[in-house]
């Protein structure tokens, strides 16, 4: 099977006065077409850095990213990005925000066709009635719906989602996960999503890539999720494998993610070992 997206020996480092700070080191990942991948790890481990390197917003220090046979050299509308904060331009309505990208990608289509695309995607994400409102008049959840519509409307080669629901309350988050999974099912887009919510990752993805803690973060383990699709939240949670996989993820995040800790503790012996935290669904720091 040919790989649609391939990250090989990907490294990212910044030069600081004390020498180069290595954020991500030797990150390898192969993603097939139509696959939904979640990157999970602790805050600040470098998962967002990996995503923004795929998006082309952050420069690759070493290694290559190949998407559909072409090396990625910079940002472009062939990768739809949903940012953590919705990143809507506040002086434009939801509709205009979506149109901004559509005008850029489908410049050969007629104006009417382009407007239809925007209306179609805004209606699907549930904003049929308020597409002509400005972001300030929309709730946080609605804004992120616009962000999702904007990414899908460009019919990109793949989707990149950077903790898109991290700022929302859990009810809204559930709703938007549903919106996302339905849109994704229609288009079968290859998707890479960064999250630190274990349940979200289990519900959405085909594979979960667990990252070790930075600095020098790398792929710690990859978990295959074989729940039948289309998925329903209730069915997924009642699946016999659900709790086993969930335990595995949490165990990784609590123990294996810190595998480099002993090295650090030599230099800082004062810090006592933290007591084992109660196992929680969402690891948020």
């Amino acid at each position: 099977m040919s790989h649609y997206l391939e990250l090989s020996k990907l490294s990212k480092s910044y030069s600081t006065p004390k020498g180069p700070a290595i954020i991500v080191k030797d990150f390898n990942l192969k993603v097939s077409q139509g696959e939904f991948i979640c990157l999970i790890g602790h805050s600040g481990c470098g998962k967002s850095t990996v995503l923004s390197m795929i998006a082309g917003l952050s420069e690759v220090t070493e290694g290559v990213i190949v998407l559909a046979g072409k090396e990625i050299t910079g940002p472009g509308p062939d990768r739809g990005v949903v940012f953590q904060s919705p990143c809507l331009l506040p002086w434009m309505t939801a509709f205009e925000n979506v149109m901004l990208g559509i005008n850029q990608v489908f410049y050969t289509a007629s104006r009417q066709e382009r407007e239809q695309i925007a209306e179609y995607y805004l209606t699907i994400v549930g904003l049929g009635d308020s597409m002509h409102k400005r972001p300030a008049e929309l709730s946080g959840g609605m804004r992120q719906r616009v962000g999702i519509a904007r990414a899908f409307a460009l019919s990109p080669k793949m989707l990149l989602l950077d903790e898109p629901f991290g700022m929302l309350d859990s009810l809204t988050r559930f709703e938007l996960q549903q919106v996302l999974i339905e849109l994704w099912r229609r288009d079968k887009k290859t998707a890479v999503m960064v999250t630190h919510d274990v349940d979200e990752a289990l519900f959405l993805s085909d594979r979960i890539v667990m990252m070790t803690d930075g600095p020098e973060a790398e792929v710690g383990d990859i978990l295959e999720i074989n729940f039948p699709r289309p998925r329903e939240r209730q069915a997924v949670m009642e699946h016999p494998d659900y709790y086993r996989l969930r335990e595995h993820l949490i165990e990784f995040l609590e123990i294996h993610a810190h595998k480099k800790k002993p090295v650090q503790q030599v230099s800082a012996p004062v810090a006592p070992a933290p007591p084992p935290a109660p196992k929680s669904a969402s690891i948020s720091v």
Partner: protein, 297 residues
Amino acid sequence: MDWIKRFRIDTFVFPLIGIGLCVLIWYCISGREISSTVKDDFGDMVTVTKRVGLSEDLPTPAETWAASKPYVIKPFEKRGELDQGMLRFTWLSLKLVAQGYFIALLLGTPIGFCLGLSKTFTKIFDPIIQILRPVSPLAWLPLGMVLFLSAKFTVHIPFAENVTYTASELAAIFTIAICSMWPTVLNTAVGVRAIPQDYINVARVLKLSRSKTLFKVLVPATLPYMFTGFRLSLGIAWLVIVAAEMLTGRPGIGGFLWQQYNALSYAHIILCILTIGIIGYALDRLMSMVEARFKTI
């Protein structure tokens, strides 16, 4: 109704107390005319008037009003080149200010954008800007006169009379432009630097062209800062008018003020100061209304 009472006290009574106090102080330090009958050297009885007071030549509020009346009551009258109604003078001054101000905006906004966008540009030009910024209009005007000494521009306006600019007019416009440019330059630069990285990322991800990024993202994101700069610039442009007209002797509020000082007609100086203040305040209110409209984005 209690709140109506409060409203009236806050908006009318309190400001009136302040104005009343100022007029009272003015009245106390101004000079009064005292007439006395004395015997002169020849033994004749003559009436002598002389002014007394802390500042004997300062006219009292009543004298000021009496002298100003013809200028205020007939604001559009033109009795001579330097003897016109107050609103006529104001109009002449505003015309000059508008020309200099628009040149300032036209130059200042792009310079501000360049400063905000390019670190190299900032490093090259920021020292010069910082040196030129505090220079007084009184210093710029003579330079303007030298610059345009032999220049005489004629602007051809279709379907209307040609407008010819004299050297002094050009010097005044130059001074207004160069003095009022800096707030626009600096505020625009600050605004461009304050654009959230998120907006720029959106433009990069969508691969917007340079001009589209500028007009769809950068300019709208900077507008609130730009308008703060525009408002401050207008204040300075109006401030400079007096200096510019004084030194060039052009008809206008500043020119009238200086002429009346030379003519020992001190009441008119106060009239001019009050007019300049009121017009300046009105312009500022007007601009902050425009500014508030753009603040909502």
